[in-house]
């Protein structure tokens, strides 16, 4: 293997006076299933938001290598503040201005990182298929005139998109819900639909924020199979946040443990399960009773 899919080094995130993340460093290997765990409020979701470009990291470098030989600097995609040197170098100035105007988290998504959310964010009043079609927006023929006159190119792109949507509905066992409103689906299916939608963008890495929250044990087992399938069959790298330790231990190869915005341990499941610091961090939290390492 060449470089890691995602390299985070020295990531610090401050909200006003709060230091949510403090000098975090870790790597996500290409083709792995990695997990980010830690007690509530440890800063896991904040890491996701920095990686996917919803927050601008206060400090630190985030580098993405979706494919060999391809690399993105995530803070740059979001648009960085101007530096003094830019004002004497028009090329650098122009580039920074371009990213400032047209940059943003959508660029990170287009670079190959997609995500789901801790509290589900589906397009509730649209059908499941439409949710998946929106996810393919950038691959469609977007010219309104082509759409009005239904040109050949437009129709072909639409057909391909619908086909792809059905492919992912099948993969996540949602075919029966294709033409139902997303907001009306049972909770477990909404979670899966969100994963399907993230996969429709054709990502190289998918970030799942507590995908098993609120699922019953059989649904959780099904989800574990699906996450494995995403990696084994479709070759995406998975990074997940999860509280269900049995799920994490079962499917992930590399685990990073966060507590109070710092990495307290990183390694394989065996190492994590026996680490005294991790056990202390978890037992120190009062209402974390479902944890059994």
């Amino acid at each position: 293997m060449s470089e890691a899919m995602l390299k985070v080094s020295g990531l610090t995130m401050r909200f006003g006076g709060i230091r949510a993340l403090n000098d975090i460093s870790f790597e996500v290997q290409r083709g792995s299933i990695s997990a980010l765990i830690g007690p509530n409020g440890a800063g896991k979701t904040t890491v996701f938001n920095c990686v996917t470009g919803f927050y601008k990291a206060t400090e630190g470098a985030l580098t993405l290598h979706p494919q060999a030989g391809q690399s993105y600097n995530i803070p740059k995609l979001l648009g960085e503040p101007f530096q003094a040197a830019d004002f004497i170098n028009p090329v650098a100035f122009g580039r920074r201005l371009y990213y400032k105007m047209f940059g943003g988290s959508h660029r990170v998504a287009n670079a190959g990182v997609s995500r789901t959310f801790q509290n589900i964010r589906l397009f509730r009043e649209m059908t499941a298929v439409e949710n998946l079609l929106v996810a393919q927006h950038i691959h469609m023929v977007r010219n309104p005139l082509a759409g009005v006159f239904k040109t050949k190119r437009f129709r072909e792109a639409e057909e391909r998109a619908v086909e792809r949507a059905y492919f992912w509905l099948d993969a996540l066992n949602l075919r029966d819900d294709a033409n139902r409103l997303a907001g009306g689906l049972p909770y477990g299916r909404q979670r899966r639909l969100e994963i399907a939608r993230a996969m429709c963008t054709g990502p190289k890495m998918i970030c799942l924020d507590e995908p098993a929250a609120g699922l019953n044990p059989s649904e959780t087992a099904e989800l574990a199979e699906m996450i494995r399938m995403l990696r084994d069959k479709h070759g995406v790298t998975v990074l997940l946040i999860e509280h269900d330790m049995s799920l994490v231990m079962k499917i992930s190869e590399h685990i990073v443990v966060l507590d109070h915005g710092e990495v307290i341990c990183a390694g394989g499941p065996d190492k994590i399960a026996n680490d005294p610091q991790v056990i202390a961090a978890y037992l120190g939290v009062a209402d974390e009773d479902e944890v059994n390492l």
Binding site: F117, R124, P144, T201
Partner: protein, 425 residues
């Protein structure tokens, strides 16, 4: 509910008396005080009567909702309210699509039927202009979910493009129609940039401010726009033929060319026909939009902006495109309005205008095209039908709004989402 519960009459009486008192307060000044000469005389029999009706009605209602039948129908209403959106059943046509050919033929025949009734011709014309405005605002508010209270600004700009274009650059109707749409779209973009980060109330306030800026410019830039005195706007021409009694130098009027008698109705009929075709094209466009990436992205943005960004959609361009498209519609509507009225001045484009268009969109069902068309026709034509009750117009408007919020809070029409099946299936 299985167990029978006694009816709480005391509660009903209390509600009824309260409602009656509020009604007395509202109706008292409106209908009870009458001007006779220089004196205001109090005629309290009317407000008392109205308040009595309200009290009785509220009492009956309060008792009824406590009976089993009432409870059942309330439950049904609640169930209906929760789902304003459904998915199309199959490929078959629904009643709206079946009505389309009739609406087309009726719409084309209408000006010939109303030929001798110029008053109604102008009313229908105005209603169609509002259909166009409603369709445009529906894109911004109904699809993209951006609450715009300053929509009439683009409408005004469209109207002034025709008037100023004719005055300074000798521009005709057709040129102005194209220019107004382009200009409207540019202004939409201009408004769009500063409000990109705003949502809901803040966006509403800024758009309101934008509207006032445009109106004040039109009022105070007297040397260019003519200020409060306004400016005249030309009629459209048909391949160079004019519709006035006498043509301007060199031109030939329409009636002379065809050798028929002059009638002032021709000009309205002609404007109507152009506008009708324009509206039909606009409706086709809006219907298609929902099945196009552009329209879908707008709706997705309304549902969840953060999710859109996580899917690689640039929310900036999506928002801007919604503003621009909406403003284009308003620009075109403005040109039609100016040519219809033959004259523009800033008083035609006050905040009430924006509120009216918003009411059309909300009543129509935020996103439903059929709903917007029906709401526009009803809201503009109903006051004309009910001329005799002119003084109660605003009251009726308020009552309609209240009833809508109770029975159809999601608007007149339910939204029907398109159905997608796999090609092979």
């Amino acid at each position: 509910m299985t167990q029978t519960r006694g009816i709480d009459y005391g509660h009903a009486v209390r509600d009824a008396v309260l409602a009656g008192m509020v009604a007395l307060l509202v109706f008292g000044p409106i209908t009870g005080l009458q001007l006779s000469g220089y004196e205001v005389v109090a005629r309290m029999q009317w407000p008392l009567l109205f308040a009595g009706i309200v009290t009785l009605g509220r009492f009956c209602m309060a008792v009824w909702v406590q009976t089993e039948a009432g409870e059942r129908s309330l439950a049904r209403m609640r169930a209906k309210r929760s789902g304003g959106v459904t998915v199309a059943e199959g490929k078959g046509k629904n009643w709206q699509q079946k009505l389309v050919p009739f609406a087309l033929i009726g719409g084309l025949a209408l000006p010939f039927i109303l030929m001798d009734n110029r008053y109604w011709l102008t009313v229908v014309l105005l209603a169609l202009i509002y259909v166009l405005l409603g369709l445009g605002l529906n894109i911004v508010v109904g699809l993209a979910g951006l609450l715009d209270l300053g929509y009439a600004a683009f409408y005004a700009v469209g109207a002034y493009v025709l008037a100023m274009g004719a005055q300074y650059w000798d521009m005709g109707f057709w040129g102005a129609l194209v220019l107004a749409m382009v200009f409207g779209a540019l202004l939409g973009m201009l408004l769009g940039f500063p409000v990109l980060r705003m949502h809901g109330d803040y966006l509403a306030i800024v758009t309101l401010g934008f509207h006032e800026i445009i109106r004040l410019i039109l009022t105070n830039w007297v040397s260019f726009t003519g200020g409060p005195n306004g400016a005249s706007a030309p009629l459209p021409t048909l391949f160079g033929l004019e519709f006035s009694r006498r043509a301007k130098q060199g031109g030939q009027p329409f009636h002379e060319f065809f050798g028929i008698d002059y009638s002032a109705s021709y000009q309205y009929m002609f404007v109507y026909l152009i506008l009708f075709l324009f509206v039909v094209a606009a409706i086709v466009f809006c219907v298609r939009l929902r099945q196009m990436p552009m329209g879908r992205a707008w709706e997705a943005l309304r549902e969840d902006e953060i999710a859109c960004r996580s899917l690689g959609i640039n929310h900036v361009t999506v928002k801007l495109s919604a503003f621009m498209m909406g403003a284009m519609f308003a620009g075109a509507a403005g040109v039609f309005f100016a040519t219809y009225q033959g004259f523009v001045n800033p008083t035609s484009f006050t905040f009430i205008e924006s509120a009216m268009i918003l009411a059309i969109v909300v009543l129509g069902g935020l996103g439903s095209i059929t709903g917007v068309v029906i709401a526009a026709l009803v809201l503009i034509m109903l006051p004309e039908v009910l001329r005799d009750f002119a003084s109660y117009r605003v009251l009726a408007f308020g009552i309609v709004m209240v009833l809508m919020m109770i029975w159809r809070p999601r608007g007149l029409m339910h939204i029907v989402r398109p159905r997608f099946t796999e090609k092979g299936a």
